[in-house]
Symmetry: C2
Subunit: 408 residues, 2 copies
């Protein structure tokens, strides 16, 4: 048995090469950018008016002018007009190109306009030079990188891509993943189980969690038979970059996964971690490059291993940072075994502090209990007592700060 830290290190010493693919901008949200986004021209592309009002030459005002003859109206989306003499003004609209010869915009709110004898604006304010003008190129210069390759694409990045004329983006292509559930006790979702059977759920849980990286995993089931397990895994190792198994890795008589993987010459990096839950986790790699994450079959165990090990590894695979979320315990926890304990916790954000409230579970088989919690808090094996207000890392599986599940 190895420690949590050793297991993490071994997993993180393996990686895969991911391809890129091109997708339409409309579906690029949440993907990882596979190219730099460059400014195709200066931003803003012209001296841009930022308030509705009148544009003047500041020098005229400085020289004592308070009344300006209005010689035109500059709409957004029209080629720039210009003034051709002193003490002239042009009405300007937000988003317009600043008229030639002007440099300062006075908002309508502090301007009085009279029509008699000629259209004239008088200014009821002390303007400052260049006010309400967004200077050409002041945000970004033409050809500069605006969004770097490797960025996670969110709504702002979508807007920028639109601005620079990219209606399709190069993004990281998800790996080929197979999720394989094992065990004779499992029946498909649509089937009514006999009294000693249960429906397969881990594959659905993990497959849905992999949606975070746009992985479209293929789902398989293998029964507890060594030859069948070996030949099916041989085929899947050939076909996929990542295999995620659930079940068949503990000490049971029909736990054939480690033996089958050994026969297939998969290099075992570890089997069993000093942790609760998820102790029987098995990890290895094949010479083809395929990585095999074999989780225990208990629903809480497999989901915990997914969140603690595979999820940060996936982030790393996509080149994303994986900041650790530390949270403050709201209650004491006692845990005696000499194991790292992953406590199920409810996360709460209050007054600038992140709290983790322990949620009582019924053990590793209690899938329903997961809906009451938001993540797993990692409590080190070196201690047995974890005291209120102490801070420990949490691996959240609900990340949306703005949402909350209404589970029982």
């Amino acid at each position: 048995m190895i420690t949590v830290e050793e297991a993490e290190k071994l997993i993180n010493s393996h990686s895969l090469e991911l391809d890129v693919e091109i997708v339409p901008l409309a579906v690029a949200n949440n993907r990882v950018l596979g190219e730099n986004l460059y400014a195709d021209r200066d931003f803003p592309p012209f001296h841009r008016v930022t308030m509705d009002g009148i544009a003047i030459r500041f020098e005229d005002w400085q020289a004592g002018a308070k009344n300006f003859q209005i010689v035109g109206t500059q709409a957004a989306g029209s080629p720039a007009l210009g003034i051709d003499g002193s003490n002239q003004a042009i009405e300007v609209m937000t988003g317009a190109d600043l008229p030639g010869g002007t440099d300062t915009v006075i908002p309508y709110e502090v301007v009085s306009i009279s029509e008699d004898p000629v259209k004239t604006a008088s200014i009821d304010t002390t303007p400052s030079h260049g006010q309400n003008v967004h200077i050409k190129g002041s945000d970004r210069e033409s050809n500069s990188v605006i969004v770097r390759q490797g960025s996670l694409i969110g709504s702002p990045e979508i807007g920028i891509a639109a601005t620079v004329g990219k209606s399709a983006l190069k993004v990281v292509k998800p790996p080929e993943v197979a999720i394989i559930s094992t065990g004779d006790e499992l029946v498909p979702i649509d089937q009514k189980p006999l009294p000693h059977q249960i429906r397969s759920s881990n594959a659905a849980t993990i497959s849905s969690a992999l949606g975070e990286w746009n992985v479209e995993a293929d789902l398989y089931h293998i029964v507890d038979d060594l030859n069948g397990t070996t030949s099916e895994l041989r085929r899947l190792i050939d076909e996929y970059q990542i295999l995620i198994l659930s079940g068949g890795v503990s000490r049971g008589k029909f736990d054939y996964v480690p033996q089958a993987l050994e026969e297939l010459k998969v290099n075992k990096h570890f089997h069993r971690i000093r942790q609760r839950h998820g102790k029987p986790f098995w990890f290895g790699s094949h010479s083809s490059g395929t990585l095999i994450f074999a989780f225990p079959g208990n629903p809480v165990s497999s989901f915990m291993c997914f969140n603690r090990y595979l999820k940060p590894w996936m982030h790393r695979l996509y080149g994303l940072d994986t900041p650790v979320l530390n949270a403050k315990l709201t209650d004491d926890i006692h845990f005696n075994p000499d194991l790292t304990y992953f406590a199920q916790v409810k996360i709460d954000f209050r007054d600038g502090t992140i709290y983790a409230k322990p949620v009582e579970g019924h053990g590793s088989g209690d899938l329903a209990n997961l809906v009451d919690a938001d993540g797993f808090m990692e409590l080190p094996s070196a201690r047995n007592h974890f005291v209120k207000d102490e801070v420990y890392p949490v691996y959240p599986y609900r990340c949306d700060l703005c949402s909350d599940s209404k589970a029982l």
Copy 2:
């Protein structure tokens, strides 16, 4: 002009009826559950073995027995065997139905098995009654609600749905939304703009952000013309439940949106909020039920209004909680105007505390600046100085605690 609080209250006093629809389980992640999920039988459905080892009758051990004759092997997925006399044991595998007559499971780790003269297990531990057995119905009883209608569906809920045999789920159906950009200066993404033109980006940004609620918005563009604006908006009000406009709401000569909406008898609830950015935000409702959110056209302003007002409202529309994220300022901010100030901030989670670091922007036109920040911090108008370590609410637009953008 009204305050931020008044604007929020007015928006939240309006809502819509959302339908439900049925979707396959595989695509139900991130949807809001439109039905209760019930346990279709007890969970666990049988006394479930949780360790590989031997099952015994505890009474035998209490009566002094240390050696037990092994009379069978109980695999997971097989009908339950049973013992028929005292001092008998059955080898049991994790996930198996506990054999009849037994009540306690001793793990292989603390059992010695000899084959001579008959297969016998001797126990090297002090077991406790009922250990390593997950009692039938101890997690949930048959017919009890496991996940409540209105829950946000995450991976654990997907797993539970699979367990109870739901291969399709009733979920909340997104509203019909049109996003309408206005302004003669806008050209489509694929078009090369003339010097005084820019590409349309707000519609792409907002459309992508609406993906959080699975909204598939239709995108429109209208030019700065009163008659055209009026007739197009008449048609869209008929067709959609929500209109989101960008641009055409400030004081410009060609800002026809408020006038067009007035002609269409849309009930104006407010126009202009005492805030920076996003002051010209216009909100109203039509007697048909259609709601109209008309944001200013500046990219930062429209995105800010979206995050501060529309996003929490959408959460509420779907029946989800909208907890406020409060964060601690890392630096002082000074802001003199008598307006609520939405400062762009980078959010950081460190040692159990949520920090917000102000990010310098170039004003409401600087879309590129949004990639450097994670959200908007709301600083009240009553003050001008906001001091390091003070806590204020943040409206984040990057919610994934586990990811980080690599923008410049």
